[in-house]
Homo-oligomer: 146 residues x 2
DNA sequence: TGAAATTAGTTGCATAACTAACTATATGCC
DNA sequence: GGCATATAGTTAGTTATGCAACTAATTTCA
């Protein structure tokens, strides 16, 4: 199990996503403790659908930074759990629109609360300017590489 | 495929490790282009062994922030590729010491160069103080959650 | 109009992650 | 000494990721 032997100055740890996986693990645990059976990856898809329902799979790829096979399988699993439904687009028969079910709509408030709580726990003692800096660095890194 | 539609101010994207996975993907690609068949996960294990050879699996868990089954399988795969060898510890028969082979030692310089190059590409236009801030925030988040 | 190229999505294969349950060895303590 | 507990590592099952190759529908353009 991970412990606290991380040493400051270890840039390669950034590659391994140390902090973000710690957040992800905690959020997953908080979902489980609340009796929710969704994974954080599934939740991240739902999150974008709550903001805008019935997106194409390609649009979900763009918004969640995943490739197409990943989205295909996440949607497969979400469909099995009856949280989303694939609807063929009327204007372009190549496209599946992914739409929320009522069951998924009911998860929105609770899970977003849990996510906010988790982020608050994670960010105790971190000041707002530094959070802004992290976001800007992430954006820059992402832009540099894509 | 991920594109550049990320919007600033989207904290949940941090959860998904957007930037660190972009770095990981790029490093993986750079390995492949150099004809190296190792994954970045395998490389992260080798990286710690280059700093200190013949660590126990538990110690590799601690240093790479992975759980025990993950390390078991990474070592399985590294052993298949003849890059490490499990050696039973003489003082404690529960322990496997994971030691580098000569083949692995030869990978050190090239792969660390590739990693440095990748980090440099990723960090173009990011100033040193901001990198320090990111590392400190990561450390704080990690400490908060563990 | 019709062939070539592009776009949306799926499938197969390999690697890796997490959880839970397991074996084997070592340690603590009465 | 011997039982309870802790530690090191493995195995099984599910989910997720990355890549390459694939099908089907749409667009481009000669």
């Amino acid at each position: 199990m991970p412990n606290n032997q991380f040493r400051r100055g270890e840039l390669y740890s950034v590659i391994n996503g140390m902090a973000s996986t710690a957040v992800a693990r905690r959020l997953q645990k908080n979902f489980r403790n609340a009796g929710l059976e969704i994974t954080i990856e599934q939740w991240s898809v739902l999150y974008h659908l709550w903001k805008e329902d019935c997106l194409s799979q390609q649009e979900l790829c763009n918004r969640t930074f995943r490739d197409k096979p990943s989205i295909t399988r996440l949607i497969d699993n979400l469909e099995k759990q009856k949280l989303v439904k694939r609807m063929p687009s009327k204007s372009d028969r190549r496209i599946n629109l992914v739409c929320l079910t009522d069951a998924a709509k009911e998860l929105q408030d609770l899970t977003i609360d849990l996510a906010n709580q988790t982020m608050n726990e994670a960010l105790i003692g971190v000041n707002k300017d530094d959070i802004e800096t992290v976001k800007q660095v992430f954006q820059k890194v992402y832009d540099n590489l894509t």
